[in-house]
């Protein structure tokens, strides 16, 4: 043991604790995260195989499901719609529900905090890493779906149900916007996951809470008697991302979805940060 007492000098103290890449490496080392990314990446291939088993394309459909095999871009749009329904919500729940509760359940949280990683820094870096993983997953899903679609059905543009066939370049832009809008549609789920992961000590409870909230919100959204109150439901605009797959693109629901997502994110995020800042860490 060296006898010299080491004291961090000012320069070193200014160095950021828990760098982004370190947290990214910690997360990517987990099989849970790898499997989530893998599922997103493999989904287009699974859908393609399912269509292969299902037989030749039915002609003259009016919805995206019937048109899925019309062209590469249409297939990609179809895959995005499939994943956008519930799968991505589940993925967001898993990723964000694990942030703090996952560390607490492994007893690693206290060691990160005594490094010391300031709590807000810990939360911020973890949220950022989870967001990047989620975004990369959805981008990968879109890109692979497009690749599988183009290889299977040719580089045709998006066939809008009951509308025109778009150009391929236009279609790629539409798919990118669809993917981006579906990430926006997950703002509330991510923020709720962050809140629950801070409050609960079990990552499963946090992820399950988000899934449960999503199901509950979707059920309530089915009750027309609630009328305008339904705009308060976080999943009310969950299908807004599909607008980019229609012609013409109605931006109103997309804006509504963005506003709704932002409000929920601010609400849940603020409570999560406040709670975590004063929480007694015992795990």
């Amino acid at each position: 043991m060296s006898a010299a007492a080491t004291r961090p000098d000012a320069r070193e103290r200014r160095r950021r604790v828990l760098p982004f890449r370190v947290e990214l490496a910690r997360q990517l080392s987990q099989w849970r995260v790898r499997i989530v990314l893998l599922v997103l990446a493999v989904l287009p291939i699974v859908v393609r195989v399912a269509l292969l088993i299902g037989g030749p394309p039915s002609s003259g459909g009016t919805d995206l499901a019937a048109l899925a095999q019309a062209s590469g871009a249409t297939f990609a749009g179809f895959v995005l719609v499939l994943a956008g329904g519930f799968l991505v919500t589940l993925v967001a729940a898993l990723l964000f529900g694990d942030l703090i509760a996952g560390e607490a359940s492994r007893s690693t949280l206290k060691y990160l905090l005594t490094i010391p990683v300031p709590r807000m820094r810990l939360l911020a870096v973890k949220v950022l890493v989870a967001t990047v993983i989620l975004a990369v997953g959805i981008v990968a899903l879109t890109a692979i779906a497009l690749l599988v679609g183009v290889l299977s059905y040719g580089a045709g543009g998006l066939q809008v149900p009951g509308g025109p066939r778009l150009g391929f370049g236009d279609s790629v832009g539409r798919l990118a916007l669809t993917a981006a809008a579906s990430v926006v549609g997950l703002l509330w789920a991510a923020a709720l996951g962050t809140l629950l992961t801070v409050v609960a000590d079990s990552p499963l409870a946090a992820a399950g809470g988000v899934v449960l909230a999503s199901i509950l919100s979707r059920i309530l959204d089915q009750i027309p008697d609630l009328g305008d109150l339904r705009v308060l439901l976080p999943t009310h605009y969950s299908s807004a991302f599909r607008r980019f797959l229609t012609a013409p693109v109605d931006l109103a629901p997309v804006a509504d979805a963005l506003l709704s997502g932002l409000i929920w994110a601010i609400l849940f995020g603020t409570v999560a940060a406040w709670w975590f800042g004063r929480k007694d860490v015992s795990g």
Partner: protein, 903 residues
């Protein structure tokens, strides 16, 4: 003239609600507030009075029927009055939402059930000049007598508003009663005969102008008749016998007699509009196969000819769409301008263009009304290709579906259902003409025209009966243009003839690449049609002419975000940024305050530390102690004494309720920078189990953000002593291996203060001995170690200082020797306790007392130990055991109040 959905701005209201809700959410960010705001408090309802008005059953008749009336009075009177007339099949209750709205706008509103409807008496005369119109005049009399109605001289200020059935009444009342100051007529007819039994929309070019052949809109006629039956057992329902017989004749395929046409004329605004003087607003729907734009066009011409100001609007609604929904704002503004403001009627004309497969709905404003023929010289000629032979099967069955009355192309459901039905249309009954893709965008506004050549296949003169419809094709998607089909019924000579066809007036936006299609069919499910079998060749004789109107202004009416939502997004982003900046600033300030360079105090000083858990358990109660540099401090206490809780507070993991922790002169809280100088092992190891021990240490050090050379990894690994296992997954480690790895992790970077909670748990005796040496040497370098343990012997052998806790309280603190007792103290187990005590007291020791059953405890004072033992031996007493100094265990048990040693 059919069952209207009550007029309201469902869509508009919900859009506004979104904006308001959203903005409220952003500003308040409190869910409860928004829930409260979303359900507006029921405003106090201004008064509504219901009564019956007796009117003559027919002009000049002495018998009376009663009309059921609601009179809505606004908050401020006298106010202008509005007479509200309902749609066919409705009664006054359907008008309540609109009446309340106008009442809030400050009008006296009289809503009533027309004769033959609701609780009003009498029979339905289809807005007859001999029934419904005099009724309405009697109601104006009522308004004239009502004190709350504003007056100009003796004349009450009255407007009349109606849609469909009520619209025609409004026009006829306005044209026959000079007291009416303005008329609003929506989706209504001009000539009832033309609306229900339209004359041929095509005429043979060059033929003499004989009376045109007619075809009955059987679909609509039967629906209307059913609406008027009112559930009565009478096959004529509540209709007058005259109308009942007209209907029965028409629906069974008969041609209307001159008497029938005369009867329908008594129910048509066309008969009286030459008397119109009041400013009139005509709202006509594009989605209307019952009362098309041609009916509004005829009304507008007659009113203009009568010298009254008239404004026309085509909106995206009508009997096949959403009724008159969405027109509230226009009606309110019109009434306010005419009745309250008495402003001039602007000459502008506006029309909606419905959404197509590629474009949003738009509202186009033009400088003036052009009728259905568009701007002179601005029509677009589109050549069409196609042709073929049409077959009308015997009976005209199966017939083609081109629209569903009341559920047409204005709704998604209507489009879907219509599309499904159209797919089943018999192909032999249709001939299709289609254009090449359009090169330029074009907006059709008005009635398109085309000339077709019809030639009978049989080579004999015949009556031809065909239906022409326009559609737009974008890619694979085809949509029928709103407005329905044009019925064409002409006498054809054996050699055929060229027929000029005027298609239904409508508005549509064509994008470049779209194709225009004209379909000619022999049957249409909505029309009576012809039962005679026929076959005709169809060819085009001219290009299709699409009238256009130069727009003065074009506004997109959908597809763009609500401005309130956009503002909300901006506000939400601003709030998010403010919150993030606030969090960053607060965090930095807290850290910079914590990092203030204070006097470099003792490694750890605890003052009055208290923690009560949420369960109410008082875990730590007013604990204070100080640890100096170079000490190895043992924190001793039974299980649950509060040791771990104290150490958690020291490490900033939990907040004390009271008291403070200072380390090296700086306060310690969550995330305090001074924690950098700590190495912690608290309550069990924590690792990423799927990674190796080495990778765990690497990642841990990487997370500190400090340079790798400061880690002193080799020294830590030596402490862990894991050998080759360091490169295996932590998942497979034993408890002791994890424990050692965790202690090694705490030692990474050689921190100035090492805090170890129960470090010997799970270690075997050789490892405990090794750890003991490690800790001693660690502290010898001027560093400080805190070790908590419930193992007394361990603390006694390892530590220089000890803090004893029990039940959350500090019971003793100091050097181990001091707490344990005098170092020179002797404990002798003797054969004669009393004798031994006597002997040592005689010797003059500082203190002597019995210890247990057979022992004595002696403080030799200035004497040597050998002297004390010698004195006992000299007294002839045997010594069975000698202990130098007191055991911490004893002191501990004494301190915590236990009477018996546990083991």
């Amino acid at each position: 003239m059919t069952v209207e959905p009550p007029p309201h701005l469902r869509r508009g209201r919900s859009r506004v609600a979104h904006g308001v809700l959203a903005a409220t959410l952003v500003v308040l960010a409190v869910l409860a507030t928004v829930l409260g705001a979303a359900t507006p408090a029921a405003a106090a309802q201004p008064p509504v009075r219901s009564f019956f008005v007796p009117v003559a059953d027919s002009p000049g008749s002495a018998s009376r029927i009663r009309l059921d009336v609601d009179l809505y009075t606004p908050a401020a009177t006298p106010a202008p009055a509005v007479l509200l007339a309902h749609g066919f099949g409705q009664d006054k209750t359907a008008l309540a939402p609109e009446a309340r709205r106008l009442q809030r706008e400050g009008f006296v509103v009289l809503a009533y059930s027309a004769r033959g409807f609701g609780r009003s008496g009498g029979r339905i005369g289809l807005d007859s000049l001999d029934g419904e119109v005099p009724d309405a005049r009697a109601l104006v009399d009522v308004l004239a007598r009502t004190p709350s109605v504003r007056r100009v001289g003796l004349d009450p200020v009255v407007g009349v508003v109606g849609g469909s059935y009520g619209g025609a009444l409004a026009l006829m009342l306005g044209a026959t009663d000079r007291r009416i100051d303005t008329v609003v007529a929506a989706i209504t007819w001009n000539d009832l005969a033309q609306a229900l039994i339209p004359a041929s929309a095509g005429r043979v070019v060059g033929a003499s102008a004989a009376a045109p052949l007619r075809d009955v809109k059987s679909g609509w006629a039967s629906r209307l008749f059913a609406d008027g039956l009112g559930g009565s057992a009478d096959p004529c329902g509540r209709f007058t016998p005259a109308f009942c017989s007209v209907y029965q004749r028409l629906i069974t395929g008969g041609a209307p007699t001159p008497a029938d046409l005369a009867l329908l004329a008594r129910s048509s605004p066309s008969t009286v509009l030459s008397g119109m003087r009041a400013p009139t607003l005509l709202l006509q729907g594009l989605q209307d196969s019952l009362f098309g734009l041609d009916q509004a066009d005829a009304n507008a011409r007659q009113i203009a000819a009568a010298g009254a100001p008239v404004q026309v609007r085509w909106f995206d609604g009508g009997h096949d769409g959403s009724g008159i929904a969405g027109t509230d704002a226009v009606v309110d503004a019109w009434l306010a301008a005419r009745l309250t403001g008495r402003q001039r009627v602007p000459s502008t004309f506006s029309y909606d263009v419905p959404a197509s497969a590629t474009s949003f709905p738009e509202r186009v404003t033009a400088s003036g009304y052009r009728g259905l023929t568009g701007d002179v010289g601005k029509a677009l000629s589109v050549p069409l290709n196609g042709g073929g032979t049409l077959v009308n099967p015997p009976g005209g069955l199966p017939s083609s579906f081109t629209s569903l009355p009341g559920l047409g192309g204005g709704t998604a459901i209507g489009r879907a259902a219509g599309g499904l039905l159209a797919r089943a249309n018999p192909p032999a009954e249709a001939v299709r003409f289609e254009s090449a893709p359009l090169q330029q965008p074009a907006v059709l506004a008005g009635a398109a025209t085309v000339r077709i050549r019809l030639t009978p296949v049989g080579g004999t003169a015949t009556d031809a009966m065909v239906y022409a419809q326009l559609s737009a094709r974008t890619g694979d998607a085809e949509r029928a243009l709103p407005g329905g089909v044009a019925p064409v019924r002409v006498h054809l000579p054996a050699s055929g003839a060229v027929v000029a066809v005027t298609l239904p007036g409508t508005a549509w936006s064509f994008a470049p690449g779209d194709r225009v299609a004209l379909t000619v069919r022999t049957s249409d499910a909505q029309f009576g049609g012809s039962a005679a079998p026929a076959a005709d060749r169809v060819a085009l004789n001219s290009p299709l002419v699409l009238p256009e109107i130069a727009p003065a202004a074009t506004a997109r009416t959908a597809g763009l975000p609500d401005p309130a939502v956009v503002i909300g997004i901006g506000a939400a982003l601003a709030v998010a940024v403010v919150l993030l900046v606030l969090a960053a600033v607060l965090g930095r300030r807290r850290r910079s305050v914590a990092a203030l360079p204070g006097p470099d105090g003792p490694p750890l000083a605890i003052r009055g530390l208290t923690k009560r858990f949420r369960s109410g358990f008082l875990a730590v109660d007013d604990v204070s102690f100080t640890v100096e540099r170079g000490q190895v401090l043992g924190l001793l206490g039974e299980n649950g004494a509060g040791k771990t809780t104290t150490l958690r507070m020291v490490a900033g993991l939990i907040r004390p309720d009271r008291g403070a922790v200072e380390a090296f002169g700086a306060p310690v809280g969550p995330g305090s920078p001074v924690l950098t100088r700590f190495g912690c092992f608290i309550e069990g190891p924590g690792f990423l189990p799927h990674l190796s021990g080495r990778r765990n240490l690497d990642l841990y050090w990487a997370a500190t953000g400090r340079p790798r050379r400061e880690a002193h990894l080799d020294e830590a690994l030596a402490v862990a002593d894991l050998g080759g296992a360091i490169d295996k997954r932590v998942r497979g480690y034993s408890q002791g291996m994890r424990q050692r790895l965790a202690i090694a992790q705490a030692m990474l970077g050689l921190p100035d203060l090492l805090v170890l909670d129960e470090p010997t748990n799970g270690l075997d005796p050789p490892q405990i001995t090794a750890l003991r040496g490690v800790l001693r040497r660690y502290a010898e370098g001027g560093r400080t170690v805190i070790v908590s343990s419930h193992l007394l012997a361990e603390v006694e052998r390892t530590c220089t200082h000890v803090v004893v806790m029990s039940h959350g309280r500090l019971v003793a603190a100091g050097p181990v020797g001091e707490v344990a007792g005098e170092a020179s103290e002797l404990v002798l187990d003797v054969t004669d306790q009393a004798g031994a005590l006597r002997a040592v007291r005689d010797l003059g020791v500082a203190r002597a007392e019995p210890h247990g059953g057979t022992g004595i405890r002696v403080d030799p004072g200035a004497l040597g130990v050998e002297d004390v033992i010698a004195a006992v031996v000299h007294a002839g007493i045997g010594i069975r055991d000698v202990q130098r100094g007191r055991h911490l265990e004893e002191a501990f048990l004494e301190l915590i109040g236990a009477t018996e040693p546990s083991a």
